[in-house]
């Protein structure tokens, strides 16, 4: 069976991380990865394993489905 080219997975890690007031380093330390891996995840250049996705969701206090999607997330306008 040949492997299909990887489908893009959209995420809101950066948005939720900033909302929670966490730096990349803090999130990285909390989920046990290198801070550059967080950068790769936020830019959608690396798709996490299920266990890492669950750890990130837990740390950011969100469901995995709120963080990752196969379709782009709608931009929410800030009132601030």
């Amino acid at each position: 069976m040949s492997r299909q080219p990887e489908e893009p997975i959209f995420n809101r890690i950066e948005e939720l991380r900033i909302e929670r007031g966490l730096s990349r380093q803090q999130l990285a330390d909390a989920v046990g990865v290198h801070y550059q891996t967080v950068g790769y995840l936020e830019r959608g250049e690396y798709n996490p394993s299920l266990s890492l996705a669950l750890k990130i969701a837990q740390k950011l206090g969100a469901e995995v489905s709120e963080l990752f999607s196969l379709t782009p997330f709608r931009k929410v306008k800030s009132n601030a």
Partner: protein
């Protein structure tokens, strides 16, 4: 009680050594980590390895250049030592530039780092396969073409160069391919 520094014998690294490279503890080498500088390092390293591989012919070059005076001999010898030291230094810089990922054990890396390290080893394995094939052909045709023989250039520098290539290739591939390290 301070924690013991674990030694990974198979990889030839220590826990503290790997962690210090991974965690930006030594900020004086940060400039090495941009992709452009890493690629320059790979090109320089390749040139150094090519020069080392041709080391068996340095004596014939020396004769062809008619380097007879002592001063010229000293200049030639210093240049030769400089090339060898540059390769050793280049190898060290290369390891630092990729945070030692190629030699780090799984337990000290995260899942993305393990993935890119494994990919670099896959490419390195393919390149090494072709390299070994080339060396086997050279063993067959080399003496006939008088590239090396028992009483001339013996190919020993070629083998030294190949050993360095084997050691540095995964790091070279990581340095060339990865955007951020």
């Amino acid at each position: 009680m301070p924690r013991k520094n674990k030694i990974y014998w198979f990889e030839g690294v220590t826990e503290k050594g790997v962690k210090s490279l991974l965690n930006d503890e030594n900020s004086k080498f940060t400039w090495l980590r941009s992709q452009r500088n890493r690629r320059v390092l790979v090109v320089l390293m390749s040139l150094g390895l090519a020069l080392t591989a041709s080391g068996s012919y340095w004596t014939s070059i020396k004769k062809q250049l008619n380097l007879d005076s002592d001063v010229e001999m000293i200049v030639f010898s210093i240049a030769a030592i400089f090339v060898l030291l540059s390769v050793v230094g280049g190898y060290s810089f290369l390891r630092i530039s990729v945070r030692g990922l190629a030699d780090a054990p799984d337990e000290l890396l995260d899942e993305r780092q393990i993935q890119i390290r494994n990919t670099s080893f896959r490419y390195a394995y393919l390149v090494m396969g072709y390299l070994v094939l080339f060396l086997m052909l050279l063993v067959i045709v080399g003496p006939r073409l008088e590239l090396f023989g028992s009483d001339g250039p013996d190919g020993s520098f070629l083998l030294i160069s190949v050993m360095f290539i084997f050691a540095s290739l995964p790091s070279m591939i990581l340095a060339w391919r990865e955007k951020d390290i």
